[in-house]
Symmetry: C2
């Protein structure tokens, strides 16, 4: 039976593993193992204080006592925008990952519903995420839509 | 003759006007005048301290002494990512606006090139923006590409 609990500071290794695996299976061009390892080491340093003080929060799904999935959440500072004209914050959903052994069981959906509710509970009405190819169909089912964001690696 | 200068704290009204006009001409569904006015009032409160302390920076283009275009820039905190595996910051480009009287003269491109160079000069190698329909062709010419960002208005 799969249950959920809030992320704790002691989940640092687990969160880092979920993020690295998420990017590994997304299989985007140019993401070598060396880049993933470098990213994870830097992410670990970045996330540790945020896990400790609660700026990074979220949920872990467990099958018995074994963690099998996770979702990360943050509230980020953002300029008031026509989609949230009175609010200067956005919810950000990241590091959504379900172990291959536990996919297609609704765990990702359960974590997303918990995450959306927690962002709303904190008084934030607009949220964003970056979808992997694997995650995109679920997010669409839940009412998420593509934005006009563009990016560039600067020379 | 059009020249450029850095944005100053005294440009608060101008930056707010550029942002509101940018969203007005983008003509996205559901953006009423009331929403735009509400957004601009909240944005003004949000941006004023950031203009004062330099967290919001950028350039204004002037024709003689009259401002005719602007670009805003920020460096935002962001988790290390495969696109910037060692860096925990991203550049953010916003409020790009050229007065209707001065379009199709290369002013938007000039401001973007200044902005990209300034972000890179600050040691940040990856930048994002949200494109209006009017801006998207220019950004594509400059090497910007769509991301997988998705958004949801939470119930």
């Amino acid at each position: 039976m799969v249950t959920t609990r809030p992320i704790a500071a002691s989940d640092l290794d687990l969160v880092c593993r979920h993020r690295e695996e998420m990017f590994r299976v997304s299989n985007a061009p140019g993401r070598t193992e060396e880049i993933l390892r470098t990213m994870t080491a830097a992410f670990r340093d970045w996330i540790a204080p945020r896990l400790n003080d609660g700026r990074y929060f979220g949920y872990i799904a467990e099958d018995g006592r074994a963690p099998v999935a996770g979702i990360g959440l943050m509230i980020i500072d953002w300029p008031p925008h026509p989609s949230h004209p009175r609010e200067d914050r956005r919810g950000y959903v990241l590091n959504v990952f379900v172990d291959p052994s536990h996919r297609k069981q609704g765990i990702g959906r359960m974590l997303m519903e918990l995450g959306e509710a927690e962002i709303a509970r904190r008084g934030v009405s607009f949220a964003v995420l970056h979808a992997t190819r694997m995650g995109q169909p679920l997010y669409e089912q839940l009412g998420w839509a593509r934005t006009s964001e563009m990016a560039k690696l600067l020379p």
